[in-house]
Symmetry: D4
Subunit: 224 residues, 8 copies
């Protein structure tokens, strides 16, 4: 454990640097809910220990605080992710395929994609494969069947993961997104659809949780 | 208006016998929530006025009370529907197609089918066309495209209406069912899926409301 | 299918240009949730293919991005809709009537109206016909009975569609709006009212979904 | 205060016999949730103090326990109400009108009617005045306008109170009922409709709370 | 009926000017959800017909639009209410007492108070009478017992109406407010408390609906 | 740890016999959800280890299974509790007072009372102290102020804990009960009221969780 | 596809016999919601095609209908599962470990265990490893770390999956159960806990969905 | 009681200055929902009576209004708390330990810590002790077991209080926080987890209610 303290000595966080050893995956810092100052303090501690880390849901201000300490960190502003060191490890294990139902689901899909890569998997992204035009899904059957695990990101009716799961042998990690309005209830409709999928083989994570989906996919596709 | 009273003169219901003239469709009596005695009183009033009527959500006891008064009524116990007179009118207007996602959705689909027929439409039923095996949907494309309106009945993830709507020009009447468990929440998950359908052209009715779906389909497919 | 890519080649969307042929209705682009840049890229692809399209829920920034590419597009800022080409097709099929319960429901009603027109129907709008003064509804009975389908837009108690449906033979497309406060729950109260309508013949769409209602009405009123 | 104890001396209830003096209305005993034995003990205490009382939501077993102690009590099994002494007081104050939207709402309407009478008001009941056929409401306009307060009992869409309130000067006490299925959610849909009534002048009570509605109406129509 | 149109002739609203005659109470315009321009158009129509009106939930911009047309209107910015003509009618009927549980409930309480006055009742306000210090309630017993109807405004636990109702013979109009945080759920907790009041005689209106409460109270306290 | 196995060796439960040492309070077995056979196997293991235990939410069948193994166990059928050994330990620490708002809350209050006693506290019970008649609460002020901790059990509006907490220095453990109907939502209304108590000093436990309340009270009143 | 029809030729189900080939896993028949007759018809079709199948959530009556047709089927009445042919395939791929938090979660855990085995994995079960006594979890660390995937079954607070996920490198499939009462809301509390797990690597399935969890685990642990 | 009035004499609040005597703890003013002017008026009244007070959830503007009147007040901007007089009383009673699961929970934890201190207890804070790395909890066992009461503050899965309660004899006050996103539902997920804790001894307060938790802890740890 490493304690981060702010300038006057108040503890900010107890980093779980042991996690990489214990679980085999690096620590991640959820920036949302923390002040940029707190994130900067944490980044400093990490630099001192040289530990591989992801920063997720980072606003522009969070990102500035991280980059001030770790100027060579990788930064994807479209999905609020930073990674340090900037280069992902050499890919190992099975292929991860990330599929986004619509353009609006892109940031969450990108967070999943980049997380899987920085956790050591080879990963690709396909966008705009909604079920309103099934030929778009069916046209990707070869790609879908070549993956060890498929992350499917969808908002609104959230029906894509069930359709995909019915077509392949691999497990599907389903990420509901808050895309939609009215009775989409900020992603709840999509979440419920995924939990009630007619097709077995659908693993659900929290709404908009691209990081969690990428992490889970990396674990599922881990080398034996 | 015709007032039904029970034996001691307490009014039971004011039947809207004018409805057929005003709206063009017969009255329907929702039996659930009424006592068999009340349903029997209503049946007696109807017989006196000779008005075409459906009885919906009738338990075995409700059915006995109706059949005691209208012994030639048509009775479909699998979906709790009775119709009087027993023969549907000569079909007119466009074709209604009813599609059920699973075997458990059968009673609701049957209620929709029979309602549409007794309101004067030609109607057919296809069962077990879930999205977990897309080939089952795609194998029915010709049937789907031949209908003036399609009623799609589905529980659990409720994703079938969106898939169907994306394949056809006709409007889809979507009926969520209470089939499922856990986070299906008695049909709420399917209801939300349908309300958030990516594909436009999906008209949603209440959970398990086969009668309402059949009625709406009959109106949509009405002769000009 | 046509792939839209942003300047560095990342795919933005796979447009379903086949949709007009397959379903008989043009594609629509939901702008909310997309960046203006993404909407601009999509507009460019559409221009290249000459495909009739609607842009819905477009902010001022989205509209600017569309108009930069399609300067002659029709733009209705009050309901965030753009249409290209700007002129709707020659009207065919039955009459669509859009009825708004209150002034606050106007934008959603306008979205339904314009959608129905740009999908090829003749359509009119009546506003402020709430049930708190029934004479306002009853005074419009001739207009209501002349339509092939009626779109009823209402927030707060959402009771107007049931009242209208009880007066006419045509199907009613009910659109709950987020008008209201407190236990209106952003349109949920109106949505539930509509799903539980005592009068059959009410087809419900998502909260504030004027586009979906207009599309559904256009399908219902389609020429045989 | 009067303490009721069961045979071994454990206290069962502290009756608020002072209530009639303090509030001007008699005590009521909600039987649901109590054992028949407890209800019997309470009835005994009441007999000893000679206090006017209502027993509400009494099952057949509860009723037997009350009638064993107070054999001359008035009993209305259709709505689970008992009253003692059996005769209501001489009516005073304004007229209470109870209106039920459908036959299934009858028990709740009866509970309101009888409560108002046993609290000293003159009260009448009209049944089956749903909004699906507006002529049924409009045909009762004179009755509606003659009342000092109107109790409107409705399930499903719960739209009747708003329609009535828009037609009269008197306050409306709205009682949602659990009549309905699916998205009626046991009366929640009707409750929300009533809370969001477009027409002001609607006082809402709990789902199925006929007693509360009758009590409130009696207070509103109390003689000055 | 009077139709308001915006400058290019699009209808904005159909004012229910008949309402004062039909119901005995003036029209009210809910400004929230309308543009200031629409509110200005409505104010102009009203001025032409000389009809007494309230404007509720008016922002500063709404108020400016009303005052530009009706410069002598009464304006209470603390609760967003305007009234025209500015002077309330001569009070008649019983006394209305408005009680607010806390300082944060003040705006809603003021809206109720002013509404009751502009609908022709004599009305007073007591603030900060929460149940955390019962002596504050009990110290006001004489005021409470002197009223024909009591409006009780409370957020958070919403328990005050039940406590007050247990102390008086008059009906209580309970207004839940959105005061509170966390599991107060924007007033839902207080709403449920009030609907489940142990003490009968509690009439509930929508969350933050001071206008509705004042209107209902004016009806209850109306002169016979 | 002690493993309980069923006759064919399948493990049934791993009892946390260490808990008394680690936490200072005995183990409790929640019977609901277990088969009587499983409960019997657990009772046998306990007898072998001689460990003090409570059995909660035991049906008559569960109780029979326990008593077959531990025939001298204390059994309170009114609240489904069994305790072994039957005698509670000698009381120590501060006084626990349990207050029930209504007769229907009695079983939950009894569960709290007996739990506190069998965990070594002196505890008393007061019933039917609802807020609809405040004099019932105020008449008990001396008892309330003499306790080290007060458990308040209430359903419906759940307002009693806030009223009590405003009158005393001691912490209040609030137990919402599922007493009530309609918008009581099985205790949710009371739960929310308690979580939003205006008066600080209210500790909330799960709906109907008399055991948890009694346990928490015993911990709060523990001897220093 | 194989069509099952009931004796009069009405289609009952279209079995997806192609699924084993397409997805690599056998078909499963959810018995809940089907009549025993329908299940019997399906079993007959399966026997004719010789396809490996699971029957889930089978009541005693469902089981009798299956065993009448497939008398050698494996039947586990404790979790309502039947499998045919009775012997699972030779295990391949990684180890599946199923962990149940409490005795009441046993049936769901067993369904997961047996599903994984009948889908070709080696699988074991550990019961009663709740977090109220952490030593029970920590004492199983070696078992936990030896698995390729861990299914964690928990009701009430649903906290066990997060604790386990924090200790291991393998992915965790979390199954919320409906064990609990009050604010457990039939498994919703546990479901939300699992979706919000602090520790990444938690894949959530529907409440009580042991079958889905076992299927997902089998896919994750599939041989490369 | 002391009445605060604003400059024109309108009453702002009735301060419960008697509370310290009656309950033994000072008054607290919840600033959120009040205007800075109202808070300033209240501060003036307090200064006149010299009463110890806390101001909670004070924005920068609220704080300025308080400090203008009470310039020596203690101000902790990180959690929006002010206290006057600035020095807490001499500590008495048992030790309070506040534990925060994550950095984002820090403000709520600080509010609990400072409240406990200003109510006269000795109190300490430990941060970032989440269950994703159990060693962080287990490493603090001595601190945890030394406290008379432990306040545990946690968002997201909210599982920490149950884990802590399983390790100690002292009662745990659990504070859910709104930390998290998606299905965290603003703290509802954590709230439900805590209410359903497997381990007894968990007292739950409202979401983000650090003040309430600190107050309750001070009462629990009060000197006998």
């Amino acid at each position: 454990m490493a304690e981060s303290t702010d300038p006057d000595g108040t503890p900010v966080a107890e980093l779980d640097l042991d996690r990489a050893r214990r679980r085999g995956y690096p620590e991640a810092v959820l920036c949302a809910g923390k002040t940029p100052e707190q994130v900067g303090v944490i980044a400093t501690t990490l630099r001192e220990h040289g530990a591989r880390t992801l920063f997720t849901r980072a606003s522009a201000e969070h990102a500035r605080a991280v980059l001030a300490v770790l100027p060579d960190a990788f930064h994807a502003p479209d999905c609020g992710l930073l990674a340090w060191p900037p280069e992902p490890p050499e890919p190992a294990g099975g292929r991860v395929l990330v599929v986004a139902a619509g353009t609006s689901d892109h940031p969450v899909a990108r967070e999943a994609l980049l997380t899987a890569r920085h956790l050591g998997r080879s990963a690709d992204l396909i966008v705009d494969v909604g079920i309103a035009g099934l030929h778009r899904v069916l046209g990707r059957l070869d790609d879908l069947r070549a993956a060890r695990v498929i992350v499917v990101v969808a908002g609104m009716d959230g029906a894509l993961p069930a359709v995909v799961a019915g077509l392949v042998a691999a497990p599907v990690v389903a990420v509901p997104t808050s895309t939609g309005y009215g009775a989409a209830f900020g992603g709840v409709a999509a979440l419920l659809t995924m939990l009630n999928s007619c097709a077995p083989g659908v693993a659900v994570v929290n709404i908009d949780n691209g990081y969690g989906a990428g992490h889970l996919a990396a674990q599922i596709a881990a080398p034996s």
